[in-house]
Amino acid sequence: MDFGTIVEILDSAVRLGTPLLLACLAGLFSERAGIFDIGLEGKMLMAAFFSGAVAAVTGSAWLGLLAGVGGSMSLAMVHGLASITFRGNQLISGVAVNFLASGFTVLIAQSWFQQGGRTPQLSGHARFEPITLPGASAVKDVPVIGPLYSNLISGHTILVYVAFAMVPLTWWVLFRTRFGLRLRAVGENPESVDTAGVSVIRLRYTAVAITGVLAGLAGTYLATGLAAGFVKEMTAGRGYIALAALIFAKWRPVPALGATMLFGLLEAISNRYPNIDLGVVTLPIQFMQAVPYILTVVILAGFIGKAIPPRAGGQPYVKER
């Protein structure tokens, strides 16, 4: 395996890891505020469809982005309504959100485009195009640094850079701002927030809305950056992998980057080498695909450090006795 191949695989890992990263950070906001979210998959799918559809019709990726975020947000609000206002079961709500997206997107796609549940191919400005960072072509031929900069770091769409920028931003918001303090508090012990005179409901809705935006970006990237258009069920379990990454990262932003990029790398490797021959055994592609899930189970089992979710997670806040 030469250096060029490694850079290519890493580059592919970044592309594949980006939607996971955005979705993972999306889940982080919600779950840190005490709202479990197994509906990331549905929100991403909804965003993928609406961004793809609107981009196809208007020819603008940016309008697509807006529509994608809107689609994701509508499901986020359904989840908020169920979990916060009606104090329902957050897991059941998440399951419902996933199915809603899975059915609704195909239904509308078929009705609008009659292409068997997909949107037309996107091209030109309907897609987010790669950005060449300054000096990328100049340093191209410098050994090591050249390919790393021009192929790995440069040449991604704006959403990839946004995703990476979201990591320090999330960290900063969570640990350095008033909002972050309250958000973490409401996920640990909502009574502490309530008795301090801060609205639990408003905080949690805000968190769920941020989740909607970030999951919207993740889905938009799938349809308008990674691929060229929406295809039925195109999230293909990425929402669950993001959830797995969130647990893997123990609900912290910087490890979330590591976890999602690791999972992106696994996908990139298995795309390139379906069967990996380790001499003694051959790892089949199916195993590579299952690795994120297996790793998450191992983490959940507490064999490599215990993953402790936010303490108030999953429980609706009831003030009355």
Partner: protein
């Protein structure tokens, strides 16, 4: 600096106003939950710079009243006046701005936050944390010096003792400029030494002109620290008096509505052979805190051993280990036979087979399944008994319902309807269901925890009578209660527990409340 001066000026202004108007005045507050009238037409006046006690039994409506004052519940009727001004308190934010701070019985702290983060939560100065944290750190230092409120600002809450956590709650209120402080049952979770320290803090706060409302059901605390005291009973305010002009006896009578001395008619015990022997019993909890530090005790057939003590000194753990659902080390023998202490989950059932019955302290979380019907609760824990099975696979539900019906009538459970879920019975009737289940097996050893907690007076007498009857039938009984009167009137011997140890044993006729109280505080051995 400007800020501090403004605060200073404000404080003086309030102090000046205080000489004229009460810090808090409640006029005709009423609140109902469904059909239960929790507060009925309550009026009180609390003068600034005083400590006002509110005393009453569990369920008398004290906490509801304070929750209204703190904006947690909205009163159905009545007015709240703060410092001479009619004030609306729709939520906690309004209470905080009115200068009210509340220290709840169960602390409202974020366990994995530092002290400092907890202090500023909800009272941050701007969108960024750094300046708020710096300011709080300075303020905390000042408050610590002024009121003996020392806590390390960078320690995580989960690392702090209960007493220190309570200090954080008080600091939270003071940081929010509270000059009216409400404390709800603050000593329930404290060791005597921590309680003493708390009272010193409260005294300092009073000297600084703060107004304090202390909610408690402990007469001793009222007498020790308050200036005035109000007594609540069944949602009503029965009296407000100056502490100096009253006595514990008078307060107790006001609380209960009659003389408290519980009259249990019983003959002297006729103890038989030893039923329970406990040797060097130790329990270490999940946080690796030693809860029982080598308990030794014996109970013979036909006698009641009462365990007195402040809640949280190991009594619950003692019951749990004996009842077979917690781990321990040491030796426990029942009728001479040693029993397993490894905490296997089947232990609960093997204990029952050996004739140990257990009326647990907490009937809502342990003794009953509130969603289950009375008949299901009547066999709970004994559901594997052959008597309740139709054949090897199927339970005899009809037979169980019939058995329950009869048991409910014998124990005067009202209404005697076996199919009603446990949650629709009153506290007293729920307790009678548990009691019927446990007593009717004629156990060799009965463990009873807080048998009359949250139970009405009528049921208390009934329950006490049944416990004594069981003793007279030859059962050994271990009674745990935080109500000293109950211990004194029921027990044939009294053991006092403090800090996971037995401080000593006394005969009820040879001791008095004072001596027992000192032992409970860990003073006399």
């Amino acid at each position: 600096m400007v800020d501090v001066q403004a605060n200073e000026a404000g404080r003086q202004a309030t102090a000046a106003l205080a000489t004229q108007a009460p810090a808090i005045e409640l006029k005709g507050i009423s609140k109902a939950f469904g059909t239960v009238q929790a507060n009925k037409d309550i009026s009180i006046r609390v003068m600034p710079g005083t400590i006002h006690g509110i005393i009453g039994e569990n369920g008398a409506g004290k906490s509801t009243l304070m929750s209204i004052l703190y904006g947690f519940y909205k009163a159905d009727a009545g007015e709240i006046w703060i410092k001479g001004q009619r004030t609306q308190i729709p939520d906690s934010q309004a209470a905080i701005s009115a200068g009210i701070g509340m220290v709840f019985q169960h602390f409202k702290l974020v366990q994995n936050f530092t002290v400092l983060e907890n202090i500023i939560l909800g009272a941050e100065d701007g969108a960024l944390l750094r300046p708020s944290l710096a300011k709080a750190r300075k303020e905390l230092k000042r408050l610590a010096e002024e009121y003996e409120l020392n806590v390390d600002p960078d320690e995580l809450i989960e690392e702090l003792s209960v007493g220190h956590q309570q200090r954080v709650e008080i600091l939270k209120a003071l940081y929010r400029q509270a000059d009216i402080l409400i404390l709800d049952e603050p000593t329930g979770v404290l060791t005597p030494a921590e309680a003493d320290h708390l009272f010193r803090i409260l005294d300092n706060l009073r000297k600084e002109g703060k107004t304090i409302i202390l909610i408690t059901h402990k007469l001793r605390e009222i007498m020790e620290i308050t200036d005035t005291v109000s007594v609540m009973r069944r949602g009503e305010m029965t009296a407000t008096v100056k502490t100096a002009e009253t006595s514990p006896e008078q307060l107790a009578e006001l609380m209960v509505g009659r003389k408290v001395l519980l009259n249990v008619t019983k003959t002297p015990a006729q103890p038989g052979k030893t039923v329970l022997e406990v040797e060097n019993l130790r329990v270490v909890d999940e946080d690796r805190v030693e809860r029982l530090k080598g308990i030794n005790l014996t109970i013979r057939a036909g006698e009641i051993l009462g365990i007195a003590g402040v809640a949280g000194n190991g009594q619950s753990e003692l019951l749990e280990v004996l009842g077979g659902f917690a781990k321990g080390t040491g030796t426990i023998r029942i009728n001479g036979e040693e029993i397993d202490l490894t905490g296997k989950h089947s232990d609960g059932q093997s204990r029952r087979r050996r004739g140990i019955s257990h009326v647990p302290e907490d009937r809502h979380h342990l003794g009953l399944i509130l969603d289950f019907a009375a008949w299901e609760n009547m066999i709970f824990g004994y559901h594997k008994d052959a008597a309740y099975q139709k054949n090897a696979f199927i339970m005899d539900n009809a037979g169980i319902v019939k058995h329950t019906q009869e048991a409910m009538e014998r124990f005067d459970v009202r209404p005697p309807i076996p199919t009603l879920p446990a949650k629709s019975f009153s506290g007293g009737n729920q307790q009678k269901i548990v009691l019927a289940r446990e007593i009717e097996r004629s156990p060799a050893l009965l463990l009873v925890g807080q048998p009359t907690r949250g139970v009405d007076i009528g049921a208390i007498e009934f329950i006490h009578k049944r416990i004594v009857e069981l003793r007279d039938e030859g059962a050994a009984i271990l009674l745990v209660s935080v109500e000293l009167d109950e211990i004194r009137s029921l027990s044939d011997r009294i053991a006092v527990m403090f800090d996971g140890q037995i401080m000593g044993e006394r005969l009820p006729e040879e001791t008095d409340e004072k001596e027992l109280g000192l032992m409970m505080a860990g003073v006399v051995n």
